[in-house]
Assembly symmetry: D3
Homo-oligomer: 70 residues x 6
Amino acid sequence: MPVVNIQITRDGATAAQKSAVIAGVTDVLVKVLNKDPATTFVIIQEVDTDDWGHAGKSVTQLRADAEGKR
Amino acid sequence: MPVVNIQITRDGATAAQKSAVIAGVTDVLVKVLNKDPATTFVIIQEVDTDDWGHAGKSVTQLRADAEGKR
Amino acid sequence: MPVVNIQITRDGATAAQKSAVIAGVTDVLVKVLNKDPATTFVIIQEVDTDDWGHAGKSVTQLRADAEGKR
Amino acid sequence: MPVVNIQITRDGATAAQKSAVIAGVTDVLVKVLNKDPATTFVIIQEVDTDDWGHAGKSVTQLRADAEGKR
Amino acid sequence: MPVVNIQITRDGATAAQKSAVIAGVTDVLVKVLNKDPATTFVIIQEVDTDDWGHAGKSVTQLRADAEGKR
Amino acid sequence: MPVVNIQITRDGATAAQKSAVIAGVTDVLVKVLNKDPATTFVIIQEVDTDDWGHAGKSVTQLRADAEGKR
């Protein structure tokens, strides 16, 4: 009975993509660990780029920096 | 000093219901484990049905499937 | 289909106490939010006192300080 | 840059199985959401059966009940 | 490669403040634990005051009670 | 009243280092967001290198690969 929490930046993932992630991740747990899909939960959390930090900066900042360098 | 994170699907839980969950869960920890309520946090996260997967499908899909079967 | 994660300091909670926490918290979600217990998970994580900080100090330190003051 | 936290009951998953879960889940995120594997983390947490509740009972209890019914 | 999840009540933290939190927390992990900032993630989750419980009441309630006592 | 969860690989962090992380992270939240340290929790979770995946491989594998290349 696994619980999977997936955190991604909010970048316009569609409902279809989320469904594909849910199906794919569940499939991995069923095939590799023989888990029962009926008790497998996958929860996706989208995080605003202001709220996600990487290398000491927010993703918002990192993308603005990358824009500025072009 | 417990921290409780509760993830539920976003289905219209009211502020009064959330308060009852907070009161009830805190009470369990105080009574069973003798925890101090002053350092007990309960955090509720509502998750969109597109973002919650069960049995390899999103809850949105599962509910649409259940509708279709009626 | 709620998922509840409970973090507590590792202080010798027994299996019987953990079972009572699981039963009690599940009961709150069933009664207040009408959730189905069959898809309600409660996960307890015990955290060493070296790994839990409160007010800028580890719980190990806080307890040693409290001992020292007696 | 996704972060995936996977909680499973502690049931003897091997290092090879864990590696297969990590590879498989990362692959899903790369293929479906075009994520960069270099910034994709997958963290597996094994949870003792005393600490995992389902339907108001610990998994330890549920398994003992199932044994008793045989 | 640390992952830091920070939960705070939603109280109007600005993007600049969030950036300062990300920078400061990353700096602590780099200086104290010698972690590589390139693989350090900091994720901030703002939680509505209805959804955050303390001492058995939601923060919304606690603040209303405090208002009433003035 | 922030709650901070820090996940790091299990690499021998000492109790003194953990205390320094707790003090440093709490300080950031107090200074930047004016949070009350008395209701600030910092929880450190050490994760075995078999259980932490990066770029589709466990950290155990990544380190063995890096050893092999020397």
